[in-house]
Subunit: 364 residues, 2 copies
Amino acid sequence: MAEAQTKLYPIEYLIDFATKVFQHFGVPVDDARLAADVLAAADLRGIDTHGMQRLHTYFDMLELGRINPTPEIKIVRESASTATVDGDNGLGLVVGPKANRIAQDKAREAGSGWVSVSNTNHFGSCAYYLLETIRDKSMIGWANTNSTKLVAPLWGAERMLGTNPIGIAFPAGKETDVFVDMATSAAAYGKIEVARRKGTSVPEGWHIDKDGQMSTDPNAMIEGGALLPLGSTRELGGHKGYCLAMAVDILCSMLSGANWGPFAPPFALRQEEPARSVGKGIGHFFGAWRIDAFIDQDEFLAQMDDYVRTFRGTKPQPGTDGPMIPGDPERAAEAERTKTGVPILASIVDDMRDIADKTGIAFE
Amino acid sequence: MAEAQTKLYPIEYLIDFATKVFQHFGVPVDDARLAADVLAAADLRGIDTHGMQRLHTYFDMLELGRINPTPEIKIVRESASTATVDGDNGLGLVVGPKANRIAQDKAREAGSGWVSVSNTNHFGSCAYYLLETIRDKSMIGWANTNSTKLVAPLWGAERMLGTNPIGIAFPAGKETDVFVDMATSAAAYGKIEVARRKGTSVPEGWHIDKDGQMSTDPNAMIEGGALLPLGSTRELGGHKGYCLAMAVDILCSMLSGANWGPFAPPFALRQEEPARSVGKGIGHFFGAWRIDAFIDQDEFLAQMDDYVRTFRGTKPQPGTDGPMIPGDPERAAEAERTKTGVPILASIVDDMRDIADKTGIAFE
């Protein structure tokens, strides 16, 4: 399969290319580099679907004038521990990091900080935001976004919710940080696409077809079906995944004035336009708790070290190496890719070359 | 089956009885009534496992002197939007409501409020706390607790985490509120117990046996097995439920100084004592976001009404009535039970009579 072929690129090369692409559309250099860094955080950590793979979509949106390259990002309301930000239809990759910093600033002053964002676009992966917030180990980080509809509510037969991720990260001292970054659907859309390309079926519980019937055929999901929420069925707790997806959607949209549920605007051009508009853009929600507002930071970090070691010592399930600490796979990818470079699929390399042709920016 | 027999009791009768039971051990009358109200909130809403069913366990713990009937509940650290509370080993049913009010007070002043609690005990269901926080529709409510180990991490073969619930509630205007109150395990322990009593098997994905093998035999879970996290298997996202259970555990324990993971002390007497102590009691975590710190409350509530109507209008999955709004089953139970009374299992009526015999408090 040609699609499985990859080429390795040093992360700095990809960042440089993406920065120039954003600049090509008038994004100021600092913002362009910031946006490229957010994509790179996903690529480095193996979250390929949220990294450079999406660059052509950002390119399309900027070329069509659907995203404002020079937004005036404004705080429209605030209190000691909260702020509401209007992203002026900027790149989520630029609006997101700036809003996230406001959450950190609030937490430094008031113990915790919470920022809702409207009038924004796809913000990449949660990873970048969480890494920033826990960088100096003084805070717990939180990040959510809503997104275009892909997921059915339990007992629903149509797409009503995005894959609405929950990101939450806790720093440890000497051990690895606990890093949660998960879509609230049972499986990622990207996995369905991969199965379609390979012509294989997927596990029951990932999606329903356009009539609401359980299906293992990836085409049935892509052609008008829907992903299932985490838990998949009533018996296995699918109502819980539905609850979580809805909670994320409400936090991102209702507190900011963004679109919600089935009306969240699409990111990719091939996705259908929502039936109506109920707000501005999509929404994000960022948070930070300052650790020493609750307890001594040293005590917290030492206990976290004990925690991580204790969970690594769990009796393993037969046939496995035992439980991982949340974030382990991403850390392993980062260690590998920092050394060897980031593998980019041949089809994505073609996308990059297409951008290079259209903009005149070099891409090898 | 004798166990399936129930007797109906008016909620006020149960509250009165429980209040007197708590008073019998020296709990001040206001606190005793508060504790009874927390239990009643679960009973009214059909969450039987977290209501009067547990009264005999609270009775045991008080009788053995394991819970302090007259705690001096103290704020040991605070900032504008946060507080850390030491519950002085009081009833969670008393410490919890008081800590939750501090979160609300902080949110009124600072836009949001977050309270971590250590040195406390089982707090009932999240329902009471969320109902209090959204009562006047000015706030979003949040509640977590950790609890004694019952759940295996994905790829683990032993109990390491509690069923660590996530509670989050959003008020609507004229429509029903969105009310999320869910354990982070695939299924509730109570459902395993019911299957054992009935001699039936349970769905694959609920638990593993003592060797870490998937099992459908309820005895295999109860006799040294473990519940599985929401998502059940790697394929269906069991790592996500594990992540959520861990995040709740960390929020409840690390920010407060409470015990965590496998070291959270047991509630029922039959449960084993943890191998070591790493903190004080179990932990809770309460939060409140003040809506108008982000957006006009009227706008929020009107959008929430639109939201609830939109989701009620989802195309139904064949064979269902379509998706529910989170909280619908509990609201239906409350409407029914307010009229007819609360059904109490014959075995629980026996427990109540046992308490009556031992305390001299009348119970019909």
